[in-house]
Symmetry: C2
Subunit: 199 residues, 2 copies
């Protein structure tokens, strides 16, 4: 399964055998059981993760209530930013929604790797730029799309989530109450063109 | 004014004279008048900008209506992501809200610079990570904060915008109608603890 990580890099650019070996040797793989909390709100957030297999849900507690702010599945990055090198308290929890295997990114190990293979730093920069661009699209979607459109966009871009995540958590991720999501689904089920996936 | 760009980098890490000179020599500065459209929705978006002075508003047209999705001022980056090297059509307009001076980022020039000074690529990666982290906070704010909280957060984090941007555009940026923003302002003006800035 660890090969998936090297494959991910090779999809961005062709890697030399030396680069492939260096990535494989320096990466740290961790496995978590479903239900494991990887990070708590308020704890120092230093680690970056790449999801090899499984599903991690990010949520905040707002007045004692969980609000799902992101859901990470295979091939996605959870990037902790740490400009100053100091530990910053996390604004959210990370919980494994399924048995999950990740590669843990370590800035110090990365620096050693990049010093030897500068091209890997370019790839890393492009990966963060891509993550940034996707995050930007998400933010724009909240400003320009109505909840119904956001539901349809999510159904199109990440259909697997509708099989993996309970509806009340998806509602939170879309930014509506579970009741509103039910109304959206009912409304769409009456439109002949829309396809509704069973939860 | 161009020194501001070098200063921005030096705030992240101490630069050598060679690195400072290399940045200053390779950077492209452009000036735009207020009202100038830098990028149109649908046009290829390749350039990255750093705002030296002025204000750039990002908006999308939704059913013929402008929706403000971002506002960039001094020391902020507008990052165009282009993983494949192909041109991708822009999802938004960029318009200068004031007379504006920017540094234009050019990926090819950057690659030449990074080959000579690999440390500058590390700094660039950290800059994108920071931009990513800020973007993520914005997305989370739409999911977990009520419009009134988003208004107060914006007033706290970017008080200058309330002097620079008309209220209807700020309303759009916060994700509410101008009427809702008026109601929020009225409600807050009746709370003794809240401070309302005159538009």
């Amino acid at each position: 399964m660890e090969n998936k990580f090297v494959n991910y890099f090779s999809r961005i650019t062709a890697l030399s055998i030396q680069e492939t070996n260096a990535i494989a040797e320096s990466m740290i793989v961790k496995k978590f059981n479903s239900g494991a909390i990887i990070l708590k709100q308020g704890e120092p957030a230093n680690d970056t993760y790449f999801v090899l297999e499984g599903c991690i849900r990010q949520y905040c507690l707002v007045a004692g209530e969980e609000r799902t702010t992101n859901i990470y599945t295979e091939d996605q990055w959870i990037i902790a930013f740490n400009e100053t090198g100091e530990t910053t308290p996390s604004s959210h929890f990370l919980i494994c929604h399924e048995d999950t295997t990740v590669v843990v990114g370590d800035e110090q190990k990365a620096q050693v790797l990049f010093a030897q293979f500068p091209r890997l730093e370019t790839i890393s920069r492009l990966i963060v730029e891509k993550a940034f661009s996707e995050q930007k699209k998400n933010t724009d979607a909240y400003l320009i799309e109505k909840p119904e459109q956001r539901y349809l966009s999510l159904q199109k871009s990440r259909p697997d989530l509708f099989q993996r995540i309970p509806q009340y958590q998806l509602a939170s991720f879309i930014g509506v109450s579970p009741e509103s999501l039910s109304r959206i689904r009912n409304r769409l089920s009456k439109k002949p063109s829309a396809t509704i996936k069973k939860p």
